[in-house]
Amino acid sequence: MSVEAFCECGHLNEVPDTLAGGIVNCAACGRATQVPGLRDHYWTALKLAAAVGWALVTAWAYTAAGLPGALIAAVGGALALFVLSRML
């Protein structure tokens, strides 16, 4: 199996999937080029799900505990999202 890595110069590099998520030197210009990861879309889905969860929890906290509850949920959730985005 192979993965496609687009270089800034416009060249499309087809590389073996063992290089997925890593770096390859572009065959046309030699520049180090990022190879997309095989699991990238899972991580994007996870981040999206976390953002939706954050919104839902904040809304629920607002109905259950009013504005202070919503504020705590919003700040706590934002912090968790920040850490998650740094991790992935």
């Binding site: 180090a32 699991r39 991580w43 740094r86």
Partner: protein, 187 residues
């Protein structure tokens, strides 16, 4: 600017709150490189700079996958914007004895790095780090390229590197930084 020292020492403070930092010293004790490991990162992304100002980047060491048993790390010369090679940890054999492969820019193995003796490696697994680690970097047909020795100290991790053979020293710096960053965590 490229890293070209054949003898250097990587020093890492063990107790840091958020992300570890490394200093690389030449034989005269001058800082020749600095690196800070990012906190909370699941996918290792290590940048090595010429000094603590982080104004000039020397080397990037980037993990291919977030969670990877036989983890591979690509190394890029930041000035040249070119991948110079990669290091791959051999997952199964590293359980008993740390074992890595150095790959060239085409991803072909060019050298292997192993802990000095299987017996000492076995003892280290149970006696923590009381027995200092020694690694040998050799060509695939067994010729010595470099030695990497961990000096035991409960507070500071020191890895002394001596390149003796014909190998790109930037790759040796990269694998040294990886050992200091990754092996400490997994050890």
């Amino acid at each position: 600017m490229s890293f070209n020292l054949r003898r250097f020492m990587i020093r890492r403070k063990i107790f840091t709150v958020l992300g570890a930092s490394f200093h690389v010293y030449d034989p005269d004790g001058q800082v020749v490189a600095f690196s800070r490991q990012k906190a909370f990162k699941l996918k290792e992304d290590i940048r090595v700079y010429t000094d603590e100002t982080k104004s000039t980047e020397l080397l990037t060491v980037l993990a291919r996958q977030v969670i990877d048993f036989s983890a591979a790390y690509d190394m890029v010369d930041s000035a040249e914007q070119r991948k110079i090679g990669a290091a791959r940890r051999k997952g199964w054999s590293s359980i008993l004895r740390d074992s890595w492969e150095l790959l060239d820019e085409q991803d072909q193995p060019i050298a292997q790095l192993r802990e000095d003796s299987a017996f000492k490696a076995f003892l280290r697994r149970f006696l923590s780090n009381l027995i200092p680690q020694h690694y040998h970097l050799r060509t695939l047909d067994g010729h010595d390229l470099a030695t990497l020795c961990v000096r035991f100290n409960p507070f500071v991790y020191k890895l002394e590197v001596d390149v003796t053979g014909d190998i790109d020293v930037r790759l040796v710096l990269g694998i040294g930084v990886l050992l200091a960053a990754v092996e400490r965590r997994q050890g």
